[in-house]
């Protein structure tokens, strides 16, 4: 439309310029021949007449002159496969060059007949090959979606992959068929939404996508690639290709089952040791020398330490495999804290250490996962005991911060931590080289505690000076801050992962 429009406007301007020029010359000559006797209103009237006459005539001429071009253009558009709804040109209304235009348009249609036939054949052949051979035999699951996110095509591999016959997949919504979880918030549906708003074509890819299988089928893990093409005439708007990596990715799951097996094997003798120690304590208490009694306490405390370590192994494996799930519930912090300190008091006692606990009055309730938080306290106290050296006091203090958070600190007066190793303190398997010879431990505790506190929405920090001691502190959110979130989720509790899978949400909004 544009070029023709510009052409017509230029033609109009040129014709108008010529006409108005001629009119001025004519009026000038008329005025001269009358030797100045002409009244001024005749002059003005003449000018106005010339102006209006030129405008109308220029319009008419440009219209008539461009009509053949318009007709030819319309004919071309009429047969063009990329345009829809353009009617054939009306040749009867042509005034100028009708014969020429009719001939030209005839040739255009003739030409189109030949090419469109061969083209249509080639296209059918192409589509056939595309859909039935390459796509069908592609050894990768392939899905084609239309603009409404319904499946328009699924190849054999795709049907096999999700265990539904291909014909039953057609016209189903993709989210109903592919229940996918992603490792980041950039899920397929957020990507597609972004594409639809801002892109003509868009390519996306994801690693480690999980297909949440139905009916006891095992979950599958795959990489996903997607191509988006807005308004594709064949309704191939989105193409999805899946690359199955279940075997590779699930090796991590195998790893956790190895961990689970080792833990089981460690726990059985541990159960027995603790059982026998209890029997001895029951039967021999007050009958053995204080020295033997002390040995018994030490034996018991070591068994408890081993148990705590086994739990650390399990939880680190969970954090690393995105399987740590925290169930945050309302709890009275002093109750939890005291009970956790109680659990470790024997370990402190056998090393001659007293744990002092100071709890600020009127603390608000906190939103916590009891088991995990108890493990955090256990780990921090365990460290404080290990690194206390000759010092015999550990101070635990809990209070409300200015920001309204419940802060708990564990302070020892032992070796302290040299500033050079501070940055690595919360890394897995990290331990103070200085103390490795003297102190047992494995460096899982702080790594785990950090992960647990972070998942609670709190912060774990440390302040330490060599040969003076260390203070570890962590903050917890008061329950009131979590209550709103819990209310919105409609549950009694809030479930959080350390860095968990994010569900593809579209399914749930439909």
């Amino acid at each position: 439309m544009d070029h023709l429009h510009i052409f017509r406007r230029h033609l109009y301007q040129v014709v108008f310029a010529i006409l108005i020029g001629q009119g001025i010359v004519f009026i000038g000559a008329w005025w001269l021949t009358s030797h100045g006797n002409l009244a001024i209103y005749w002059l003005i009237g003449g000018c106005a007449f010339v102006l209006i006459f030129s405008l109308l005539l220029a319009g008419l001429i440009s219209q008539l002159a461009s009509a053949p071009l318009t007709a030819i253009r319309q004919a071309i558009l009429h047969i063009s496969p990329s345009e829809h709804g353009i009617p054939a040109p009306q040749l009867n209304q042509l005034r100028i060059g009708r014969e020429l235009v009719v001939n030209l348009i005839g040739q255009i249609y003739e030409f189109n007949d030949v090419t469109s036939k061969t083209q249509a054949l080639a296209e059918i052949e192409q589509k056939d090959i595309k859909h039935n051979f390459i796509a069908q035999n592609l050894p990768l699951p392939l899905f084609i979606l239309d603009a409404a996110e319904n499946i328009k095509f699924a190849n054999k591999a795709a049907a096999d992959y999700i265990g539904i016959d291909a014909p039953n997949l057609i016209n189903k919504n993709v989210y109903m068929v592919l229940d996918m979880s992603f490792t980041s918030t950039n899920t397929f549906d957020t990507w597609l939404k972004k594409a639809k708003i801002a892109k003509a074509t868009f390519v996306g890819s994801w690693e480690r996508v999980r297909l949440n299988a139905r009916d006891n089928q095992p979950n599958r893990l795959f990489d996903l690639a997607a191509y988006y093409n807005r308004g594709n005439p064949d309704h191939i708007e989105t193409i999805l290709v899946l690359f199955d990596h279940t075997k590779t990715y699930s090796q991590d799951d195998q790893a956790i089952s190895f961990v689970a097996l080792s833990v089981h094997e460690l726990r059985t003798p541990l159960t027995l040791l603790r059982g026998y120690i209890e029997v001895f304590e029951e039967e021999l208490r007050d009958k053995v020398s204080p020295e033997l009694q002390d040995f018994m306490d030490k034996m018991n405390s070591q068994a408890e330490q081993l148990m705590a370590y086994v739990n650390n192994i399990l939880n680190v494996a969970r954090v690393d495999n995105d399987q740590l799930e925290l169930h945050l519930q309302e709890a009275s912090w002093p109750v939890i804290l005291k009970s956790a300190i109680d659990t470790i008091s024997l370990r402190a006692k056998v090393r001659g250490i007293t744990i002092h606990c100071r709890i600020a009055p009127d603390l608000p309730t906190v939103g916590i996962d009891r088991l995990s938080i108890s493990e955090v306290i256990n780990n921090l106290l365990d460290n404080a005991i290990k690194y206390s050296g000759n010092s015999q006091v550990i101070n635990v203090d809990t209070h409300l911060t200015k920001d309204g958070l419940v802060e708990t600190t564990v302070q020892d007066y032992g070796f302290g931590i040299s500033s050079s190793i501070m940055p690595n303190l919360f890394t897995k398997f990290y331990r103070d080289h200085h103390n490795r010879a003297q102190v047992g431990g494995n460096g899982l505790g702080l790594y785990l505690s950090k992960a647990i506190i972070t998942a609670h929405g709190g912060n774990l920090w440390v302040r330490s000076k060599e040969d003076v001691g260390s203070t570890f502190g962590f903050t917890l959110l008061p329950y009131s801050r979590l209550a709103e979130e819990i209310k919105q989720s409609g549950n009694q509790e809030l479930v959080r992962g350390a860095h968990g899978w994010i569900k593809n949400h579209s399914l749930y909004r439909r």
Binding site: A260, T268, L270, T271, V279
Partner: protein, 152 residues
């Protein structure tokens, strides 16, 4: 093969333990302990007997299910890893809603096996308690059993 032999010899020993423990069950106080680790079942039986319970120990899954279906036990302690039938299979059979009459026994899972959270939640739904053996001493088990045995 060696594993099989070991299991069998433990079973034989268990049969004798079972006979020794076969006292007439006291109402509200009879316990079936399904556990194949002999040292553990001995320890548990010792503590529970001291607390006044009558304890029957069975180490074999099939035999244990048979005994449990007699419906004469107030409490069943159920290990998940036992020979011939898994604890989960026994739990499902006993807690099958179609069963007439329903099994009246309270069932407490005792295990050292770490389950995925969703599996554990599913087991806990059907049982009356779930304990990790390494995390409790025999006396703590007795306290737990006393709480579960309280009429609800």
């Amino acid at each position: 093969m060696a594993g099989l032999k070991t299991t069998r010899s433990i079973e034989d020993k268990h049969d004798t333990v079972e006979k020794a423990m076969e006292a007439p069950p006291v109402v509200g106080h009879s316990i079936l302990c399904i556990e194949d680790e002999q040292f553990i079942s001995e320890l548990y039986a010792r503590a529970l007997t001291k607390a006044g319970y009558t304890v029957t120990i069975i180490a074999d899954g099939t035999k244990a299910l048979e005994a449990a279906q007699s419906n004469q036990y107030d409490i069943i302690l159920l290990d998940l890893m036992i020979p011939n039938l898994t604890g989960i299979e026994i739990l499902r059979t006993l807690r099958n809603p179609a069963r007439v009459p329903p099994i009246r026994s309270k069932i407490i899972i005792i295990t050292n096996l770490e389950q995925r959270d969703e599996v554990r939640a599913d087991i806990e739904k059907q049982a009356d308690g779930y304990l990790v053996k390494a995390e409790i001493t025999p006396n703590e088990l007795v306290k737990f059993v006393q709480n579960v045995a309280l009429p609800s």
